[in-house]
């Protein structure tokens, strides 16, 4: 397999084969990130498309320091953030769906039965603001202060959004686990 440095070099020279190779190698992982940040497939496709265009445009600035995947992921997350900001006024925090109360304690519950696709579907069902805060905090590791600056909310709002997001996720995870258990037990 060609070395990533050679692929980047080829992309910078405008080599179509290397551009496609880079896309084929990383698009599946980055598309999963896009899905994680978006509520519908169309939005995810747009984020991936814009994200990859930015990746190709900015390859010249990549200094081969640190993980290339991490660098690409940061660009895709920033693109998702831009999308979120541009739709900011369209989003509203919906009421939490009427989901049955969890029948398990989240501190002790074993979630190993859940597949990645189930987790992705659960996270995508979150209201956009909650989803964005949860992704930035729990997955990307940003602080509330940073998240506040990124999506123009206060630190306190970020904390409360995260708390609400976790609560919804726990309910939905527990619900899914319950459904799965029932299905297994027959």
């Amino acid at each position: 397999l060609p070395d990533i440095k050679n692929i980047i070099k080829g992309c910078l020279a405008g080599n179509r084969r290397d551009q496609e190779l880079l896309y084929r190698r990383h698009s599946a992982r980055l598309y999963a990130v896009c899905l994680q940040y978006s509520g519908n497939d169309e939005e995810a496709r747009d984020i991936l498309q814009e994200g990859f265009i930015k990746i190709f445009e900015n390859l010249v600035h990549y200094k081969h320091e640190g993980s290339f995947e991490g660098w690409m992921r940061r660009i895709v997350v920033n693109t998702a953030l831009e999308k979120f900001r541009s739709n900011h006024n369209l989003y509203r925090v919906d009421d939490i769906d009427l989901i049955p109360e969890p029948d398990a304690d989240p501190e002790t519950e074993d979630y190993s039965g859940l597949e990645a696709v189930d987790l992705l579907n659960i996270i995508r069902e979150l209201p956009p603001k909650y989803r964005m805060v949860f992704n930035l905090f729990a997955i990307e590791g940003y602080s509330h202060k940073e998240i506040g600056q990124m999506i123009s909310i206060s630190e306190g709002t970020s904390k409360s959004n995260l708390s609400r997001a976790r609560m919804i996720l726990q309910k939905k995870v527990s619900y899914s686990m319950g459904v799965n258990k029932k299905a297994v037990n027959g």
Partner: protein
């Protein structure tokens, strides 16, 4: 409950860590044209530079190969010229060669080089004597005198013609000696004035200064700019000249992801100079237009007290202008270049290098709306005087003795940083293909 939060965070973080989903094929189909379109200007400039280099090398190669061929053919050409001269003399009415033998001999010697012709004539010199007076007297007609017949006639005619040719050559030499030296010396033009213009592409910046600059730079693009002006050159020697003049050049930078809105002035109760600051790789933009509201779409580059927590442009019904800001910097450039002529032919080939002093004359930041500029403010912290270094090659095609057409691909690197902001001292470099006309006097 805190552990539960960590647990749920870890569940999603680890669960989605390596998860992959194949995107629909149409995504790549949409990416490819966009990437190719963006690469086009740069590719075009690179191709233009490559063509210029190849063209100049081809011309040089052609000229050199022609010179070599001419040099190889030169001895024969020189002989032919002499034999032609000889034939003309031999065939002149004054000599009137009519003998068949002479004709035959003449036809044999017609295409013979002069040296051979001369040696062919030498044995005849042993025949009946001809006085030097007769030979050098143009009025002396040997045929009329009846002293010589047949071969002797012929040899005399040949001999006379050779002496006439020698005489003519000597006469030309003597004439040349009489012409004053000043008139012989080629008159050279000491000065030239040149008007040049070029689209200029700022290929990139020195990104290595800091991560801050790198992060900001991801959303920034250089724009194709233009520069042009007039320069004077003084020829120190035939090949070396010093050049200076006055150029106007503009540098543009496009900043994406900063949304601007108009109609903010009714809500502006600030006493300070500016409401918004925008961090860019070229310095900090300070808004000067109190009507503008700025919002960063992709990060934290906009610093303001009117952040989204306290002011929502949509709720205030502000008019959206654009999502991109354009920084424009214009400079008056005073170059001091040395130009060395490597090839001095119909198409001259020069190497040009030197430094320029660039004085900042315009600094503005705008957003575009319906093809018009919407003024936003200025970039702070810019160096008012920049020093740049240039290196280029010049092709000069002489249309006449005094007017020539110039083509100069030039690379420029800014030795001084654009701004003095700590961590973002950018040193842009540019490439331009200057073209224009020059007049020598």
């Amino acid at each position: 409950m805190a552990d539960g939060n960590v647990n749920i965070d870890l569940l999603f973080r680890n669960g989605l860590k390596d998860y992959e989903v194949l995107p629909p094929p149409e995504v790549w189909n949409n990416i490819l044209p966009a990437v190719r379109k963006k690469q086009k200007p740069f590719v075009f400039l690179r191709a233009a530079a490559l063509i210029a280099v190849l063209l100049s090398l081809s011309i040089l190669g052609y000229r050199w190969s022609r010179e070599i061929i001419i040099q190889m053919q030169n001895p024969e050409l020189a002989s032919n010229e002499e034999s032609t001269q000889y034939r003309n003399n031999a065939g002149s009415p004054g000599t009137a060669v009519k003998s068949p033998a002479v004709k035959q001999r003449a036809s044999k010697t017609k295409n013979m080089p002069a040296a051979q012709l001369y040696s062919a004539a030498i044995p005849v010199l042993d025949g009946p004597s001809i006085s030097p007076e007769e030979n050098f007297n143009p009025g002396n007609d040997l045929l009329k005198s009846g002293k010589l017949f047949d071969m002797q006639d012929y040899s005399a005619v040949i001999q006379k013609s050779i002496f006439q040719a020698v005489n003519t050559k000597n006469k030309v030499k003597d004439d040349l000696k009489e012409i004053p030296y000043k008139e012989l010396k080629e008159k050279t033009n000491k000065w030239s004035i040149t008007a040049l213009a070029s689209p200029t592409y700022y290929m990139g910046r020195d990104r290595s200064v800091s991560d801050v600059a790198d992060k900001m730079g991801i959303s920034e693009k250089s724009m194709v700019s233009y520069s042009g002006g007039v320069s004077f050159a003084y020829y120190l020697t035939k090949k070396l000249s010093i050049q200076s003049g006055l150029y106007y050049s503009s540098v543009g930078n496009q900043i994406d992801g900063i949304s601007s809105f108009s109609g903010f002035s009714p809500y502006d109760f600030t006493k300070g100079d500016h409401n918004f600051e925008v961090f860019t790789t070229n310095g900090i933009i300070y808004t000067e237009n109190s009507d503008v509201f700025l919002l960063d779409r992709s990060g934290d580059r906009v610093i303001t007290k009117y952040n989204n927590d306290v002011f929502d442009p949509a709720k205030a019904n502000l008019s959206y202008v654009n999502n991109t800001l354009y920084q424009n910097f214009s400079y008056l450039e005073m170059p001091v270049f040395l130009r060395y002529k490597l090839i001095d032919k119909i198409i001259d080939f020069n190497i040009i290098g030197g430094v320029s002093y660039n004085i900042l004359v315009n600094n503005s930041v705008n957003a575009h709306v319906d093809g018009n500029n919407y003024y936003v403010g200025k970039t702070a912290g810019l160096n008012s005087i920049l020093v740049s270094s240039s290196l280029g090659m010049g092709l000069e095609y002489s249309l006449t003795n005094k007017i020539s057409l110039n083509l100069e691909p030039t690379f420029k690197y800014y030795l001084s940083p654009f701004n003095m902001m700590e961590g973002t001292k950018t040193h842009p470099y540019s490439f331009g293909i200057f073209s224009g006309l020059s007049f020598k006097f």
